[in-house]
């Protein structure tokens, strides 16, 4: 059969044809049956009548071709002694049935003639099972042999007898394997390659199957009538590439055996293609790189939009992705810790990531920390509950092993496992995070660990070694008793749990039941005895007490707190006095009910420790009705409805031994009240309110007074009811004033109620007036200080301005301005007729805003000789580079100009800064040599003729208004040339002041003044200057930086 499988098709068919008729020793397999035709020659006449022969004559039998029965029909001698033999299987391979039937039987039935009977005897023997069966019959025989579900080769022997003569058949063999259909293939599954190809695979049902042909059919679940069929020869896989994603397919396979029997269709296999992971499960070690491929079967999903998620929680950086092709994405990750992780490849869909339910699993071998904690309960000492942490994605099983030695010893020899078998948590593998182990020994040691399901035992947690005795949580103590004694002692006792038997320590906590809003438990412990006596600050208080316990020495857990127990207050007699109380009356307009709330002052607890108050009794007496009473605990408030009839309320104290005898009562009346107060006034200072009142003389004196007010500290918005905000104080009848010292806001309204025996008098109200002016004084002081500060700031600002803009240089002293009529210059081009001057040093950008300044030089009457002009070129040519660089160096300082820009230099163009220009007159040029900063050294200046002090040089200093300029200023002052430094300023007011000064100078030097004034106006005239408005040129004159020097030659 193996040979057939590997043979080419045509050869197979030939071999099958060869095998077909001769298989089974004379018979043929057809329609799941084995057929044979056996014909025998029997000596007829002799054996029938005389019977003299000792040895019956023996005939001969031969097997004929069962598929070609013409031979038997042609031989009438044989035809009567021929047998049709038929074998088939019954049931599920349990029985083989063979039937032999003579042709004579059929003929006898048709001819109705009496003929001697043919006796057929059949022996059936199963070779493998060694079972045999015998059967006999006249003309026909049927045998059945049990096969016990296994395939077998069955031998068949037939003997026929007729009139004493017998014939034996040759040995016939039937293979039951060929009497059944082949089993349909099993283990249908599919793989996906990293190229996205879907390979469908199956296995033969039996290892030595002789299946040679297969047929695969598949259809979508919704169209099961339209099968796609694929035929496969000689291999048990097929590539299916025409499948669509998102569709649920059903696939079935059948096979054909070498004798052309087709199997049934296999069990259906369902699958949906969406995203396939290759591999779907990975085993790795910590720190190793893992690459997983994802194939998008959905053609609308692109690998370029793949998003990989680790454990569905963390987006893996895109740098770790690779796009293999349009439908295949890959990711490479490194898992550092042992454990279980998942990878999901999702598809970006707007802001979200669409994912399907499949994911790849990564098992990182090693031990992870699961934080296993166990606790055994005293009530069930053989039971221990363990909890752990794990990945939400992992299925785990908890395993444990019992040791008879101490845990410390076992931990030390970890690794040398004994032969004991592992036991498992009864709940088995799953999504658990806890397990309860039962039937444990309290004093044994247990090793407990987790194993990740599917991790082949290689992914597990660190084990913990636990002796249940060390992790017992005992039952809480019981039979708790507590008594509050008169000597300010709380006496508590309890009973410890019986098990475990080790020594216990206890902890007790208690809280006073009075004033429940402030429930601060006080803890006492550790206590070694099951009783305690606690000193209290006051007696007569009930306490809620709870106790817990744990092992004294060694580890373990605290038990739960015991059941609460309320202490009993020890009393010898009933209380003597009832509490004082007042009332708040509130109308409920919705329900048309008037509610009265009694505001009860707490009884004095420290009064008599032997007659403690445990509760109150409120006794009511309404007019015309019977008396009734209610019992309450020690409450601060008690409310009841009032029908606006005369209603008397008495509040009494009570304890277990009785109620108080001296009690205060109150009568509520609805009718008009009598007036008895003449005046009521209140004066408040910072901490106290002084209240005073007087009574009308012709009225009876009340029993007492009650003064009430609302506490404004308590916010009515925060569920503060009126009764909780209401404050009151009772005053004896003889008093006519009261001083209340506490925090008041000053706007409280006080109400004085005279209280008579038979009810209240008419109340009187007043609002406290504050006599304390401290706040107003403080306010005045602050206002005064603010004004002082403001004035100081103003003055200091003016002073600063004066300091900054003290001197303004005069551009007319600039050398480059020689011979220029500034009034005639409209634009910068006119100002610089020589283009090379601008190109050499493009200091000013046209687009920049311009500040206009007028400078009038305070000049001496200078007469400069024309021949001195010759010196200027010498200076320029001889030191031009130096000059330019010096200028640039100067101007390289950051510039600043208030509110505008001016005198732009290459370095400063584009900046907004304040600049100023310094105009120097060279009265004493030699002194300038020592000036620091941006001033030029005039030592080499050719035209600085010391013999002619009227020679002057003007320098433009373009500097930041900064420390450097300050230094310049100070330096110039120190050298006595401060009066010759003038700074351009933009302040118009200041400019006017300067103009006045300039006018004084003008009166002294009339000749030069006219010239300079005209020149100056043309170049530096302020745009809005009123003093020179008549002479303003049409365009905005420019204030230009000094970039050339020249001796001034007055005309």
């Amino acid at each position: 059969i193996r040979y057939i499988v590997v043979m080419p098709k045509l050869k197979i068919i030939e071999i099958i044809e060869l095998f077909y008729p001769s298989d089974g020793r004379g018979g043929v397999y057809e329609d799941l049956k084995w057929k044979a035709l056996l014909c025998c020659e029997l000596p007829f006449a002799q054996t029938l009548d005389d019977g003299l022969s000792e040895h019956p004559p023996v005939g001969q039998c031969q097997l004929l071709n069962a598929t070609k029965p013409e031979f038997s029909s042609k031989s009438p001698t044989l035809s009567g002694n021929c047998l049709d033999i038929l074998c088939w299987l019954e049931g599920e391979r349990t029985n083989l049935i063979c039937n032999a039937k003579s042709h004579r039987a059929a003929a006898a039935a048709s001819l109705l003639t009496v003929r001697p009977q043919l006796v057929v005897q059949m022996n059936v023997l199963s070779d493998e099972a060694n079972h045999a069966a015998q059967c006999a019959g006249e003309d026909t025989a049927m045998c059945s042999i049990s096969l016990h579900g296994n395939d077998a080769t069955v031998s068949l022997n037939i003997s026929i007898s007729l009139n004493g003569s017998t014939a034996l058949s040759p040995k016939m063999q039937v293979s039951t394997h060929n009497l059944r259909r082949p089993e349909p293939p099993i283990n249908l599954h599919y793989d996906v390659t990293t190229e996205g190809e879907v390979i469908f695979r199956w296995s033969d049902a039996q290892p030595n199957s002789d299946a040679i042909n297969y047929e695969i059919r598949y259809a979508s679940n919704s169209s099961l009538q339209q099968w796609e069929v694929v035929k496969v020869k000689g291999r048990s896989w097929v590539s299916l590439n025409e499948l669509s994603s998102g569709i649920r397919y059903m696939v079935q396979v059948c096979c054909q055996s070498h004798i052309n029997y087709w199997s049934e269709w296999s069990q259906p296999f369902y699958f949906t293609l969406d995203v396939s992971y290759i591999p779907a499960e990975i085993f790795t070690t910590p720190g190793s790189e893992v690459t997983v491929y994802a194939v998008f079967h959905n053609r609308s999903w692109s690998a370029s939009k793949a998003v990989w998620m680790l454990n569905g929680q963390v987006k893996i950086p895109e740098s770790q992705y690779r796009v293999i092709d349009e439908q295949v994405s890959a990711v490479t990750v490194t898992v550092d810790e042992p454990g279980f992780d998942t990878l999901m490849c999702c598809h970006q869909w707007g802001e979200r990531f669409k994912c399907i339910i499949a994911y790849a699993k990564i098992y990182t071998e090693g031990m992870f920390n699961a934080d296993i904690t166990c606790q055994s309960k005293n009530s069930e000492v053989d039971t221990m509950s363990c909890e752990w942490n794990k990945s939400a994605w992992a299925q785990v099983r908890l395993l444990y092993r019992q040791y008879t030695s101490m845990c410390e010893t076992i931990s030390e020899m970890a690794g040398s496992e004994e032969a004991e078998e592992n036991m498992e948590c009864p709940s088995g593998a799953g999504d658990h995070r806890e397990c309860t182990l039962k039937n444990l020994s309290l004093f044994s040691c247990y090793k407990i660990w987790l194993e990740v399901e599917g991790g082949r035992g290689k992914v597990r947690s660190f084990p913990v070694y636990v002796a249940p005795i060390d992790y017992v949580k005992p039952s809480p103590p019981s039979v708790l008793e507590a008594t509050t004694l008169p000597n300010k002692t709380l006496s508590v006792s309890w009973r410890r749990p019986h098990l475990p038997v080790y020594d216990m320590q206890y902890e007790l906590h208690f809280v006073a039941l009075r004033g429940m809003a402030n429930t601060q438990w006080k803890v006492i412990g550790p206590l070694l005895e099951p009783q305690a006596e606690i000193q209290l600050e006051e007696s007569c208080v009930q306490f809620k007490v709870e106790v817990r316990c744990r092992r004294l020495n060694g580890s373990g857990y605290w038990s739960d707190w015991s059941m609460s127990y309320t202490s009993v207050v020890y009393n010898r007699k009933a209380p003597e006095m009832g509490p004082d109380f007042w009332r708040a009356i509130q109308e409920d307009p919705v329900r048309s009910v008037t509610n009265v709330t009694l505001i009860i002052k707490q009884p004095v607890l420290a009064g008599d420790p032997y007659s403690c108050v445990e509760g109150l009794v409120i006794e009511h007496q309404a007019s015309g009705r019977a008396m009734w009473s209610n019992e309450t605990t020690l409450a601060q408030f008690y409310s009841f409805p009032w029908r606006k009839e005369a209603h008397t309320v008495t509040v009494m104290s009570r304890n277990a031994l009785g109620i108080s005898t001296r009690n205060r009562n109150m009568t509520l009346l609805h009718q008009p009240k009598r007036r008895c107060v003449r005046s009521f006034s209140a004066v408040a200072n910072s901490s106290c309110v002084y209240l005073s009142w007087s009574l009308l003389s012709d009225h009876s004196v009340p029993q007492s007074f009650v003064i009430e007010w609302l506490d404004l500290k308590k916010d009515p918005e925060q569920d503060m009811s009126l009764t909780e905000r209401l404050q009151w104080v009772r005053v004896q009848s003889a008093s006519r004033d009261l001083s209340l010292c506490r925090r008041f806001y000053g706007s409280e309204e006080f109400t004085l109620y005279p209280v008579f025996v038979d009810g209240e008098g008419e109340p009187v109200r007043c609002t406290a007036t504050r006599g304390d002016p401290a706040a107003y004084i403080l306010l005045l002081i602050i206002a005064f200080l603010s004004v002082v500060l403001f004035v100081t700031l103003l003055m200091s600002q003016n002073q600063m301005r004066k300091l900054m803009w003290k001197d303004v240089p005069n551009p007319n002293n600039c050398s480059w301005a020689k011979g220029m009529d500034f009034r005639q210059i409209d634009t910068i081009e006119n100002l610089f007729p020589h283009s090379e001057g601008l190109t050499a040093c493009p200091l000013l950008l046209v687009s920049e805003s311009i500040c206009e300044v007028e400078i009038i030089e305070k000049t001496h009457p200078v007469t400069l000789e024309l021949e001195k002009d010759n010196e200027v070129p010498i200076y320029k040519s001889g030191d031009k580079t130096t000059t330019d660089s010096a200028l640039l160096a100067d101007s390289s300082e950051p510039l600043s100009l208030e509110a505008s820009t001016a005198a732009a230099t290459p370095e400063t163009s584009g900046q907004s800064s304040v600049t100023y220009s310094t105009v120097l007159l060279s009265h004493q040029p030699s002194l300038l040599r020592k000036q620091p900063g941006g001033l030029w050294d005039l030592e080499n200046h050719v035209c600085s003729d010391s013999a002619n002090p009227r020679h002057s040089s003007s320098y433009n200093s373009v500097e930041e208004f900064s420390e450097t300029s300050d230094q310049d200023y100070e330096a110039s002052e120190s050298t006595g040339v401060a009066k010759d430094l003038y700074y351009l300023e933009v302040n118009e007011e200041e400019e006017e002041e300067d103009e006045e000064e300039i006018e004084e100078t003008q009166s002294e030097q009339e000749n030069n003044e006219m010239v300079m004034k005209e020149d100056t106006r043309a170049l530096l005239e302020g745009k809005n200057s009123t003093a020179v408005a008549s002479n303003v040129s049409h365009s905005i004159p420019l204030y230009l930086p000094q970039f050339r020097t020249e001796c001034i030659n007055p005309p």
Partner: protein
């Protein structure tokens, strides 16, 4: 007092009658609402423990039709049908935290089935039994996401059930 021996059988008989009385429709509505609210909260706790990336969308509503998504509620029959499907899914999930939800769902199903019996409603077999089995078998290894998806859809169905409690009155 006179026949105390007869009184006890009477009381016991009345108690047995009370046990047999079907739940009043309004009581059933309350019970169903309480149980559904409980299931919703348990599902929220369970799915929150996964701490999934907020942008993740596991399983479009049009995907995995084997698990009911956005099923219409038309009477008790449809509710029981859908819940039975969910119960099947939960039974295939691993043991663990989902056990409690499965138990709650089982209780809810019992209420509804009892109501169906008392109303003489005919029950039918769930339509997609085979494909559901096959789906669960295929995805048995992806139980976390299957559980997440199923519980999310069950939560939505519970929310829908709470606002359609009147459907409990019809078969």
């Amino acid at each position: 007092m006179y026949f105390p021996a007869l009184l006890y059988p009477c009381i016991l008989g009345m108690l047995s009658l009370v046990h047999g009385i079907p739940i009043h429709p309004d009581n059933l509505k309350n019970l169903v609402k309480l149980q559904a609210d409980t299931i919703i909260l348990r599902i929220k706790d369970y799915n929150d423990k996964l701490k999934l990336y907020p942008k993740l969308l596991i399983g479009d509503p049009e995907l995995y039709p084997e698990i009911p998504a956005d099923k219409t509620i038309q009477g008790l029959g449809s509710i029981v049908d859908t819940l039975t499907t969910f119960q099947k899914v939960l039974q295939r999930l691993p043991k663990g935290h989902v056990s409690q939800i499965r138990s709650d769902l089982s209780t809810l199903l019992d209420y509804l089935k009892e109501r169906m019996t008392s109303m003489h409603c005919t029950s039918k077999e769930p339509a997609n039994g085979r494909s559901l089995d096959a789906f669960l078998e295929d995805n048995a290894t992806h139980h976390i996401t299957v559980g997440y998806l199923a519980l999310d859809r069950l939560k939505q169905f519970m929310q829908k059930l709470i606002v359609n409690l009147d459907q409990l009155k019809s078969c």
